[in-house]
Symmetry: C6
Subunit: 99 residues, 6 copies
């Protein structure tokens, strides 16, 4: 996995808006989302080259319809982090019938 | 996917009311809903031509029995956003036995 | 689908009480319920002729052991609303082994 | 179904305590429980003759380690209420391999 | 089932700490846990002889890294309580492939 | 199972950051995570030699983008604690198709 970016915001509307901003402003791909943490929090995870991920996250933080609660860019995620994210994404791969 | 509209409101009653208003006031279709975010929040997503989606969302915001917490219109959603929404809608397609 | 009535109240006890009041005070049928929205909120949906649904909802609002958080009567729900409610009810039909 | 009693309290510990008190103080049986409403609320439902259910609920309200948030006795539940409770209990019947 | 002990605390970390304390301080066994009640609450249930269960719960209350929200010892649980706990534990038995 | 370390923090972004810090600062492995407790809480569990686990947890507490809500190191977890954690991890093993 390449670099990863994480954005956490209140509600699906703002999360979808963040993902749209990120993907339009840099070459990043959607990895997974988590949305049953309670307190209306939604996490969106993207991956790409580190410069693209940084630009994407910066743009979402600056321009989203709702200010993100937290965000992070992890340039070289440890393989155990990749493992956790693949687990989260596995239900997505399964639904899409790929991999 | 065409343009998308998102409305987020507290409770299923208001969410159903919003969907009814949106579909009666413009030519939009129900795409998916999310309702396990906690804090009673319910998200309804519709799609259609951009003018129809805008009219639908405006009408719901103006006339719903409860003021929506947030709303957005995304005229040309990025393909990764379409992918996320299709994932959310896949459990619906599955239940309806279509696609 | 006929007219629909929605009642939203805090807790299963009050929701069951509302359903009992609605069904005893007018000719309405249980359609579905939602109870994982967080914040203890429970939504009960019934259907019937518009006059019956109105009477049922009014009675529940007036006589329930706990004041409902919100309620609505939708006389002629749009087909997309019917679709959303059928999705919600599909897990019920499945459990009951009918339809 | 006979008369039903519902007790709603914060947490599984107090809910289990309520059920133990109810079953020891009157001839009632466990029907179902709901515990994913958010806000730590747990609902326990019992059934039996109306006098037994009333005594059971009264005892739990008076003696539980935590004061119940709400409670109700429904002497003659409408058949639609019985249907809703059977739906809630169906996952229990399924796990116990009976019915 | 023998006597049961219940401990309820905020978060999985403190719940795991409570279970470790209970099992190390007395001859009790893990029965089940509940962790989707909302509000971060986690319930841990153990069983054993009444003196062991009492000692275990007392130790956890006194020494846990976070003060439990509630706790209880039920020396002779009613068979309906045993039934509820077995239901809760059935997903565990299933995962462990035993019984 | 070796020693275990637990970190609990608000949100998936901070939890992923904690896991990355832990795995990069000491020789520990990801065991499981819990993320549906409500209140946005996410628990990450790692295992390893006691000195590695201690260093990992200390580093995450000191350097995470968000201060953890709670953390613990259990040098010699009781077998019942190992059993609980294996249950939590079993859905992970299942998804990864191992064991």
């Amino acid at each position: 996995m390449k670099s990863i970016g994480l954005i956490e915001v209140s509600g699906v509307t703002a999360a979808v808006d963040c993902l749209d901003i990120m993907c339009k402003s840099a070459d990043v791909e959607f990895v997974t989302w988590e949305r049953k943490l309670g307190g209306r929090l939604v996490t969106v995870v993207v991956e790409g080259q580190v410069s693209a991920v940084s630009a994407a996250v910066d743009n979402a933080v600056a321009n989203a319809i709702k200010k993100p609660v937290s965000h992070a860019v992890i340039p070289s995620p440890h393989e155990e982090v990749v493992r956790l994210l693949k687990l989260s994404a596995s239900r997505i791969k399964k639904k899409e019938g790929t991999k």
